[in-house]
């Protein structure tokens, strides 16, 4: 499995500000995913980020609120813009299984715990 790191691991932010979360993987992967996990909840997919193309957003998530960059095959960023307390969550990136199995497995980073005051 890939080794995935995220920065920052946690942050406390003021409402109205923006935070950019970085995700770094130790091998080249085509597909990277960003999830949100609200307190005590399951994971919800925000968007899929492929290198060289615009991110694909899920219903309920828009690019203006969650802009994503994917400059190369090992790195991606997610920005949480104009934050409000409702954005307080754990944000997780994941990557496809690098063994390229027939079915998609995903491996997750440690997450970024965001608190918005």
């Amino acid at each position: 499995s890939a080794v995935i790191s995220q920065k920052p691991s946690r942050d406390i932010c003021q409402r109205g500000t923006s935070l950019t979360i970085q995700c770094q993987v130790d091998s080249q992967v085509t597909m990277m995913f960003w999830y949100r996990q609200q307190p005590g909840q399951s994971l919800t997919l925000i968007a899929t980020a492929n290198q060289g193309s615009e991110a694909t957003y899920e219903s309920g998530f828009v690019i203006d609120k969650f802009p994503i960059s994917r400059p190369n095959l090992t790195f991606s960023t997610l920005t949480v813009s104009n934050m409000s307390p409702e954005d307080s969550s754990i944000y997780l990136c994941s990557v496809e299984g690098v063994e390229r199995r027939s079915y998609n497995e995903q491996f997750f980073g440690p997450g970024t715990r965001l608190t918005v005051l």
Binding site: Q41, S42, L45, T48, E58, N104, E105, F107, P110, G111
Partner: protein, 112 residues
């Protein structure tokens, strides 16, 4: 929409006993399922997966059972240890779709 769900939100288990975590799914087109373990403060960790052409798969101390007739998935943990305390999620995907749909999660607490 269709979703993956769990029967029990919490499970308390005596150390050394076996644990069974259940998951119901409603999308009959799902053909691949994964169990994840998430410890406090960490990201989900891949435990075991199963394809729809199988009904059982075993790993180290874990077994996943798939019953496609009733759309039911379970994770069995043998000889549960304190380190097994975590939230367990099942996830599903459909053919040619890289997106995973996650269930609500079951919190497993191991009693010493």
């Amino acid at each position: 929409g269709e979703s993956v769900g769990l029967h029990l939100p919490t499970l308390s288990v005596q150390e050394g006993d076996n644990s069974i975590i259940n998951c119901a799914y409603s999308n009959s087109a799902s053909d691949y399922f994964i169990w994840y373990k998430q410890e406090s403060g960490k990201g989900p960790q891949f435990i075991i997966d199963i394809r729809s052409n199988m009904d059982k798969r075993q790993g180290q101390r874990v077994t996943v059972l798939l019953n496609k007739t009733v759309k039911h998935l379970s994770l069995q943990i043998a000889a549960t240890q304190p380190g097994d305390s975590a939230v367990y999620f099942c996830a599903e995907t459909t053919p040619n779709d890289y997106k995973l749909s996650f269930g609500a999660g079951t919190t497993v607490t191991v009693r010493a």
